[in-house]
């Protein structure tokens, strides 16, 4: 293992986050606060509680997931897309590093940033609503698995993308809608049966449900299924990444 290379990539990526701290940290915090004002106060005035949890508190796990998913994906995607775009990727390709090391460096940094952000959002949320975490260890596990899995997805996206539009479209037009429709701000049990069925095809449902369970012990699907689904995504993405590096897809000519 070229540990020094992993450390170099990781450090480089983290330094990039500090340079763009407004975009990577401040923006999500501001938008989260806005959600609390709009959803928590306005809608919360009508829906006082869901399954015994106050509406403001109910949406916290969903909000964290929303940020975690979009930031993991766009951060990791940008991290590998940019060197490809400006051409500095030559150095990575000519360095004595294996693909596993490259992935650990980039995905590790993106996931770390997401985790940090998740923590900050939880902190912000605690200012608005009383938070209660029933299973902290599970909560951390969900945070970690989600960050890593979706950073991997972002990494794949960054390699696949051949323009900035694709880079932005996927988080904006796929991840965000899936998160909104995945029960972030409501329980899917509130939907008519037909739409409940449709919603189960949305992968984000499993993430939000499991994550929310670690807070309030209420879930749309069982925790085991949630963990299982995340693991399946993780394995699929690992498979795609190793295929990319084996074939040099969109990296080597």
């Amino acid at each position: 293992m070229n540990i020094r290379a992993i450390a170099a990539i990781y450090k480089f990526e983290m330094a990039r986050a500090w340079r763009t701290v407004a975009q990577s940290i401040i923006a999500p915090v501001v938008s989260t606060s806005l959600y609390f004002v709009v959803f928590g106060s306005a809608i919360g005035g009508r829906i006082t509680s869901i399954e015994g949890v106050s509406y403001g508190a109910f949406i916290v796990p969903g909000l964290v997931m929303l940020n975690l998913l979009t930031q993991s994906v766009s951060n990791a995607a940008f991290g590998i897309y940019f060197p490809k775009f400006v051409g500095t990727i030559y150095e990575l390709l000519s360095a004595p590093v294996s693909y596993v090391e490259i992935v650990i460096g980039y995905v590790g940094a993106a996931a770390s940033k997401s985790l940090l952000l998740g923590g900050i959002i939880l902190g912000t949320a605690a200012l608005f609503v009383p938070l209660h975490v029933a299973h902290p260890a599970w909560m951390l596990l969900f945070l970690l698995l989600t960050s890593v899995t979706f950073s991997l997805f972002g990494f794949i996206l960054g390699i696949w993308a051949d323009g900035f539009e694709k880079l932005q479209i996927v988080p904006l037009l796929i991840i965000t809608p899936l998160t909104f429709l995945g029960g972030s701000f409501y329980s899917i049990r509130m939907l008519p049966p037909f739409w409940q069925g449709v919603t189960l095809a949305n992968p984000v449902v499993y993430l939000v449900s499991g994550f929310r369970w670690s807070f309030y012990e209420i879930a749309d699907v069982s925790v085991g299924v949630s963990i299982g689904m995340i693991t399946v995504f993780l394995i699929i993405f690992i498979g795609i990444v190793s295929w990319i590096f084996r074939t040099g897809y969109r990296l080597k000519t």
């Binding site: 170099a8 480089f12 340079r19 051409g87 030559y90 004595p96 590093v97």
Partner: protein, 308 residues
């Protein structure tokens, strides 16, 4: 022969179907400066790309210090430093950080001393905390050289290192390259400028349309390429060249008003003085004259056409 890089039957066909390298065989000797010459699109960058791991070869085998570049990529890549043709840098990083990053990426422990030394040699030390985007083009190129030297490579590839670099800096750069050679580094560079190869290289390779058409010691090549032409514009056109001038092997143009004499600048006697005297004796007068050196492009064309 002590070959540090051994390229055997190397071919590369791009996904577009274009064959950029055709059966290239080349051995680079340890410690030499090898200049790869060739017109645009000849395949120089592609050849370097294969050795450095950026381009997947279609066929053939490359070893560096006896290690296969694909199976033993860690070994071979850690021995190589690459300065690519394009100026590509992390615009927002500082000089110091980007060079230190390169060192880490190639698996070397952090060494501020070495980074300082490299930056100093390239006159970049005063700018070490500058963001790269605030540097001039020539400085950026030196940053790229510094990055390539950060991990103390034994082999250095310089893909057109002097493009966009002013004369002064070019001299500095060549001085740096010579020092590297002194310290035992093997250097492979590409250039369009024959005089650059002449000044620097121990051996020269010429590549054209993906084929390596010539590899020679520089001194031998320079003799071949050292031909010059003297063009004489005549006052009165002539039909035939007088037999007494046959020894000069003059060429006459179609309209008969220009004679061309080819001579060797490297030989002791160019024969120009004698020619001018004989012309005057033959009553041939001229109202203008000029000399020119065959350009590299022409030499390529000659080399290629003489082979087909």
């Amino acid at each position: 022969m002590d070959a540090i890089i051994d390229i055997q039957d190397l071919s590369k066909t791009y996904a577009s179907g274009f064959q950029a390298l055709k059966d290239v065989n080349l051995q680079i000797r340890k410690g030499e400066i090898f200049a790869l010459l060739g017109p645009n699109g000849a395949g120089k960058t592609t050849l370097i790309g294969v050795v450095c791991g950026i381009v997947n070869p279609t066929q053939g085998r490359v070893t560096v210090a006896g290690h296969d570049i694909i199976q033993d990529y860690r070994m071979t890549r850690s021995m190589i430093g690459l300065v690519p043709q394009e100026l590509t840098t992390d615009a927002f990083e500082t000089v110091w950080n980007t060079v230190s990053f390169s060192r880490g990426l190639f698996g070397k422990p952090a060494s501020p001393q070495h980074v300082s030394k490299v930056l100093d040699e390239l006159s970049l030390l005063p700018r070490k905390h500058s963001r790269i985007r605030t540097l001039s083009g020539g400085m950026k190129r030196r940053v790229m050289i510094a990055k390539a030297l950060a991990h103390e490579p034994e082999i250095l590839f310089l893909d057109e290192p002097t493009a966009g670099v002013d004369v002064e800096l070019r001299k500095d750069m060549w001085a740096t390259v010579r020092e590297l050679k002194q310290s035992g580094v093997t250097i492979i560079l590409t250039t369009h400028y024959i005089n650059e190869a002449e000044a620097m290289a121990d051996r020269v390779g010429v590549i054209n349309r993906g084929e390596l058409i010539l590899v020679e010691e520089k001194t031998a090549l320079m003799q071949k390429m050292g031909k010059k032409q003297l063009m004489l514009h005549l006052q009165n056109p002539i039909d035939t060249i007088p037999p007494r001038l046959a020894a000069y092997e003059l060429e006459k143009n179609a309209s008969g008003d220009e004679l061309t004499y080819t001579y060797d600048t490297k030989s002791e006697r160019t024969g120009i003085t004698a020619l001018l005297k004989d012309l005057s004796d033959a009553g041939i007068r001229f109202n203008d004259l000029q000399t020119r050196q065959s350009s590299l492009e022409e030499i390529f064309v000659n080399l290629v056409s003489s082979r087909s």
